[in-house]
C-alpha cells in the first residue's frame, strides 16, 4: 500500500502553505453559499488528499445533525441523513465541540450507514462554531486506512471556520428578511384613523433586528365606537414566540369582535393558551376606550403598569388588579379597572424592554418612564411614541424587544376635519364623532341628529357611488357659528345619477333634514354642502 505511506509523509512545509492557501482563497467569498460550500469541500478534500468531505448542520429544535453538502458522499445529502446529537462520529463531535479522528471505521461506533457502505476506513471531523456555539460538523474520510495527524485537524478546522462565517452571514440575512416579513404581517401596518384620537407606535426587535421577538401592539376599533388597545409580550424569542404572538393577537381580536368585555376576553384567551399547550406564557395589557363616556377600562395579565398623562400635566401609573401571566393555569380570573380618560389625556402602553436596565430597579425605571412621558406631552416634534423612545432608549442597543403604543385624545376645535376611508363601516364612527363635536359646540339635540344623519347620508353616497369597490377617501369638514351649521362632504370620484328607489331616498332625506343641500360635481370630485340654520330649525 504505497499510497498510505505517501499520505502519512505528506506534511512538507511548502505543501502545507499551499494547502492552507487553497482553503483561505478570498475569491471564495464571491460565490453563492451553495457554490462556496461545494468548492470549499472540494478544496479541503484535495488539500487533505481525502476521498470524501461532508458538512452537517445542527437543527437545534430537533437536536439532530442534517447533511447539508458533501463531496464523494453526495447520497448523504440526497437522502437527508440525520445524525442524533451525541451519537456516532459526527454526533459526538457536535455534542463535545471537539475534533475527532477514527483510524479504523470497522471497529468504531458509527451511526450513518452510508459511511460504511461507501467503504470509508479512516475519518477526521471538526465542529463548526459560531460565537462559541456548535452549528454543525465537517468531516473528511479516506477509503484507505490512514492516520490523520494534528496538522490535518488544524487545516480542517480552518476550513470549518470559513464555512461557519459564510453560513452565519447567510443565516443573518435570511433571518432579517424573515423578521421583516413577519413584522410587516403581524404588526398593524396602519393605525386606525379615528377623529380626535392620535395613535403612534414603535416596535424594535432586540439585537439589530436579527431575531423576531414576541412583543406586539394592536389597536382594534369595535363597531360600537369603543377602541381597544393592546400591548403584549410573549416570553421567549424566535419563530415560536412570534407565532404564539400571532395566535394571541388573532384570538383577542376574535373575542372582542364577538362582543366580550376585556376581562372576559382575557380569561378566554388564557384558557385557550393553556388548552393549546403552547408552553409559552405572555403578559398582556388591554385598554378599552369609550369615547362617549371618556372612560378607559384596563385589564392586565402580569404586564407592567401603563402611564397616563392627564391634561393637568400629571403622570399616573395605571395598575389594574394584576392577573397572572397568560398560559400558566386554567380558569384564572381577570378584573377590569375603570378610570377617567378626559380629552387632552395621553396613555402610553409598552413592553418591559423600554424601561428595563440591568443596573436599576423597576421603580427607578418607571420613574424615568413617567418623566419621559411628561416631557413628551410638552413637546410636539415627531410622534409621542418617538419622543418617549428617544428619551429612554436613544441609540443604545437593546437586548430585549421593545413595543410601545401611545394614544392621545386631542381636544376637538372650532372646526372639525376628518378624512375617512371610503368604506361603509366608517359611517357609525363618523356619526358619533360629529355628534360629539356638535354637542360640544352647543348645538341642540334635534339639530345634531338631523345634521348628523344628513352627513352620514352624504358620506354614504360618496362611499357607495363615487368609489364602489375601489379604495378612496372621503373628507368631512364641519363648522358652526351663531347662525348656522355647515358640513361639507367631499370625495374624488363622480356620483352616478341616483337610482329612483335607492339613493334617491338619501337625497330626499338630506333635503328633509337640513335647510340646504348643494351638490357640486366638479372635475376633481363631488362635494356636498349641507347647511342648517340654528334657530327655529323645524
Amino acid at each position: 500500500m504505497s499510497q498510505e505511506v505517501e499520505v502519512q509523509g505528506s506534511a512538507s512545509p511548502g505543501s502545507r502553505l499551499e494547502r492552507l492557501q487553497s482553503v483561505a482563497d478570498s475569491s471564495l467569498g464571491y460565490l453563492s453559499l451553495e457554490d462556496m460550500l461545494g468548492e470549499l469541500l472540494d478544496r479541503i478534500r484535495g488539500a487533505l488528499e481525502a476521498d470524501t468531505a461532508a458538512l452537517l448542520l445542527l437543527d437545534e429544535d430537533r437536536g439532530v445533525l442534517v447533511a447539508r453538502a458533501a463531496r464523494g458522499l453526495e447520497e448523504e445529502v440526497r437522502q437527508g441523513v440525520q445524525i442524533p446529537l451525541a451519537r456516532g462520529f459526527a454526533g459526538r463531535i457536535a455534542a463535545e465541540g471537539q475534533p475527532r479522528i477514527i483510524d479504523d471505521l470497522s471497529t468504531a461506533d458509527v451511526v450513518n450507514p452510508i459511511l460504511r457502505q461507501r467503504g470509508i476506513r479512516s475519518m477526521v471531523g471538526v465542529p463548526v462554531h459560531v460565537e462559541g456555539r456548535v452549528i454543525g460538523v465537517m468531516h473528511v474520510g479516506s477509503l484507505q486506512r490512514r492516520d490523520f495527524v494534528e496538522e490535518d485537524v488544524t487545516l480542517l478546522q480552518f476550513a470549518a471556520d470559513r464555512i461557519a462565517l459564510a453560513i452565519d452571514n447567510a443565516r443573518l440575512s435570511e433571518q432579517r428578511a424573515v423578521t421583516e416579513v413577519m413584522q410587516r404581517t403581524l404588526l398593524p401596518d396602519a393605525l386606525p384613523v379615528i377623529p380626535g384620537l392620535r395613535f403612534s407606535a414603535k416596535y424594535l426587535p432586540a439585537g439589530a433586528g436579527i431575531r423576531m421577538g414576541g412583543d406586539w401592539y394592536d389597536v382594534y376599533p369595535l363597531a360600537d365606537g369603543r377602541v381597544t388597545c393592546v400591548v403584549g409580550d410573549v416570553v421567549g424569542r424566535g419563530a415560536l414566540a412570534a407565532s404564539v404572538m400571532a395566535e394571541i393577537r388573532a384570538a383577542l381580536r376574535a373575542y372582542l369582535h364577538e362582543g366580550h368585555e376585556p376581562a372576559q376576553a382575557m380569561e378566554l384567551l388564557n384558557n385557550l393558551l393553556v388548552a393549546m399547550g403552547r408552553e409559552r406564557c405572555a403578559t398582556v395589557a388591554m385598554m378599552q376606550l369609550d369615547l362617549e363616556t371618556s372612560e378607559m377600562l384596563a385589564v392586565s395579565a402580569g404586564h407592567p403598569p401603563a402611564v397616563l398623562v392627564t391634561p393637568d400635566g400629571q403622570a399616573h401609573l395605571v395598575e389594574p388588579r394584576h392577573g397572572l401571566l397568560l398560559g400558566i393555569k386554567k380558569d384564572v380570573r381577570f378584573y377590569s379597572h375603570r378610570f377617567r380618560f378626559p380629552v387632552g389625556s395621553v396613555l402610553l402602553l409598552y413592553t418591559d424592554g423600554l424601561i428595563e436596565r440591568r443596573d436599576e430597579s423597576l421603580d427607578e425605571g418607571l420613574e424615568r418612564l413617567a418623566g419621559a412621558a411628561l416631557d413628551a406631552a410638552r413637546r410636539d416634534e415627531d410622534s409621542f411614541a418617538d419622543r418617549v423612545y428617544r428619551a429612554l432608549v436613544g441609540q443604545a442597543a437593546t437586548d430585549d424587544d421593545i413595543a410601545l403604543l401611545a394614544i392621545e385624545w386631542l381636544p376637538l376645535g372650532p372646526s372639525l376635519e376628518m378624512t375617512l376611508e371610503a368604506k361603509p363601516t366608517v359611517l357609525a364612527g363618523l356619526r358619533r364623532t360629529l355628534g360629539r363635536w356638535l354637542g360640544g359646540r352647543g348645538v341642540d339635540e334635534d339639530s345634531t341628529f338631523d345634521i348628523t344623519l344628513a352627513t352620514s347620508e352624504a358620506a354614504g353616497n360618496s362611499i357607495e357611488h363615487a368609489y364602489g369597490a375601489r379604495e378612496g377617501r372621503v373628507s368631512v369638514n364641519a363648522e358652526v357659528d351663531e347662525a348656522e351649521i355647515r358640513v361639507t362632504v367631499a370625495d374624488h370620484g363622480r356620483w352616478r345619477d341616483p337610482r329612483p328607489s335607492g339613493r334617491g331616498r338619501g337625497l330626499m332625506m338630506m333635503r328633509g333634514l337640513v335647510d340646504s343641500v348643494e351638490v357640486d360635481r366638479g372635475s376633481g370630485g363631488t362635494s356636498v354642502t349641507l347647511t342648517k340654520r340654528r334657530t327655529g330649525g323645524r
Partner: protein
C-alpha cells in the same frame, strides 16, 4: 345585535345597533331567515335603534315586500319619542310598511289584519 321574542303567532325582533349601509343587507338576511320558523308575522321593534339611514329604510321596504310574497307580514314599531319618527315621516315609511308606536299596538294591529 338583534334579540328575538315570540308573542302569539308573531316574532318580535329587536335590533340595537344603528342600521345603515354597512349592516342593512346583513340585517335583512337575518330577519328574513328568522321567519322560516313558525310565526308568520314579523314585528320589528326599533325602540332601541338610534339611527337609520336611507339604506336601512330601503331595507325595511324590501323586507316588507319579500315577506308579502311569502304571505307573511312585516310591521315596524317606532316609539313616539324615537329620533326615527322624523325619518319615517320624511320618507313616508308608513306608505310602504305599517308603523306602530308600541309593540302592543303592533300585535293588535297585525292580528286584526292577519
Amino acid at each position: 345585535m338583534t334579540s328575538f321574542d315570540v308573542v302569539d303567532d308573531a316574532l318580535i325582533a329587536r335590533p340595537s345597533d344603528d342600521i345603515d349601509t354597512a349592516n342593512a343587507a346583513a340585517l335583512e338576511e337575518e330577519l328574513a331567515a328568522s321567519l322560516q320558523r313558525e310565526p308568520d308575522h314579523l314585528i320589528l321593534d326599533l325602540g332601541d335603534v338610534r339611527f337609520i339611514d336611507s339604506a336601512g329604510i330601503g331595507m325595511l321596504i324590501r323586507l316588507g315586500e319579500r315577506l308579502r310574497q311569502r304571505r307573511s307580514r312585516l310591521v315596524v314599531v317606532i316609539p313616539q319619542s324615537s329620533p326615527l319618527v322624523r325619518i319615517a315621516e320624511i320618507v313616508d315609511l308608513p306608505a310602504a310598511v305599517p308603523v306602530y308606536p308600541t309593540v302592543a299596538d303592533a300585535v293588535a294591529g297585525s292580528a286584526s289584519q292577519g
